[in-house]
């Protein structure tokens, strides 16, 4: 590995430590879950490598137990993962011109990788593309490792890990708060939080994501005259 990559890896790793904890734990949980449904360890390993979208992988385990219905599998996936569309829109500028690593960055754009790559302060002199790459790759390595360990040895877990999954919530809270402390106005933060809460209350936990996305887009469209400034995108 050359010095550019080493420096990027060193800068990226600390940002991924909470994800290391969360993904190992959730990955192990996923592996154990798949075993409990009666699948071999090969299934969680293959799904964590190819799907790499945590909540969808849990759902896919259930899909495999039901009747064969390819259309339902596709529509359900599009619905559950629709929030990724927002990540892509937010990363269009940041991932511009990154060459051959770009397809992998997009492939691995999960919730956690998005939040880190979208919010991290990349130190001066560190290559942006390789920083994004290492955050993405480390996160996937953690997840695949967790799912493999869970699938192979999950039943042997000795410690009480109840509540450890809160590490992901805590990370999103910190990213939200850190951004709050830096931004000039809080309109976007408040809109995201408020409209999502409203939609959660109205549509319930299983169906609020897409209405939230629609409400957020509608609000930004209405407020464009006020929020859109001519400066270059960050």
């Amino acid at each position: 590995m050359n010095d550019t990559k080493k420096a990027a890896l060193r800068a990226a790793f600390p940002y991924t430590i909470p994800i290391l904890t969360g993904f190992l734990f959730l990955g192990v949980t996923y592996g154990v879950y798949m075993r409990s449904l009666g699948f071999s360890a090969l299934y969680p390993i293959a799904m964590s490598l190819t799907v790499f979208a945590g909540s969808m992988e849990f759902v896919a385990g259930n899909l495999l137990l039901g009747a064969f219905d390819p259309l339902q599998a596709l529509v359900l996936t599009l619905t559950i993962n629709a929030r990724h569309l927002f990540y892509g829109l937010s990363m269009l500028e940041r991932y511009k011109g990154l060459g051959k690593i770009k397809p992998y960055l997009i492939f691995g754009l999960c919730d956690e990788t998005f939040s880190v790559n979208c919010s991290a302060q990349i130190p001066q002199g560190v290559d942006r593309g390789w920083f994004y790459f290492f955050v993405t790759a480390l996160d996937q390595i953690y997840w695949v490792t967790g799912a493999s360990l869970g699938g192979l040895f999950g039943a042997l877990l000795p410690i009480n890990t109840q509540g450890l999954d809160f590490v992901m919530t805590a990370m999103f809270v910190v990213i939200f708060l850190e951004n709050w402390l830096k931004e000039d106005d809080h309109i976007s933060s408040l809109l995201g939080l408020g409209l999502s809460l409203l939609c959660l209350a109205v549509f319930g936990a299983e169906a609020f994501i897409i209405p939230s996305m629609a409400a957020i887009l509608a609000a930004f469209t209405l407020l464009r005259g006020r929020l859109d400034r001519e400066e270059a995108p960050a």
Binding site: S90, T169, D228
Partner: protein, 108 residues
């Protein structure tokens, strides 16, 4: 399901996931200028998405039943307090998570 049907199902889950991740990049290619409206959306969106993700993590918390969301509320307050005090990302996350684990394992 037969093995072939399982492979097809997993392939469609992969396809669906990749569509949601690649679509914005496929529509707005670097070759052509991205429409101003999309640039604007891409710029104002991230803070709102962070808010959405926080709510997404808490979506299964019930205020009416069980522990009424108290462990979550206390742990988030700890995360916020630690972060405003030291502004050390890892410390805030670790502190809040440990408090949450203690609360759900020992108190609630």
């Amino acid at each position: 399901m037969t093995l072939t049907q399982q492979v097809i199902t997993i392939a469609l889950v992969v396809l669906g996931t990749m569509l949601t991740r690649f679509l914005p990049f496929l529509i707005f290619t670097p070759g052509r200028p991205t429409p101003r409206y999309i640039q604007y959306i891409g710029k104002v969106l991230p803070p709102a998405v962070f808010g959405l993700l926080v709510v997404y993590c808490l979506k299964n918390v019930s205020l009416l039943a069980g522990s009424h969301g108290l462990p979550e509320a206390i742990a988030i307050a700890v995360v916020a307090a630690l972060h405003l005090w030291k502004r050390q990302m890892l410390l805030s996350i670790a502190g809040g998570t440990v408090v949450y684990m203690l609360l759900v394992q020992l108190v609630f």
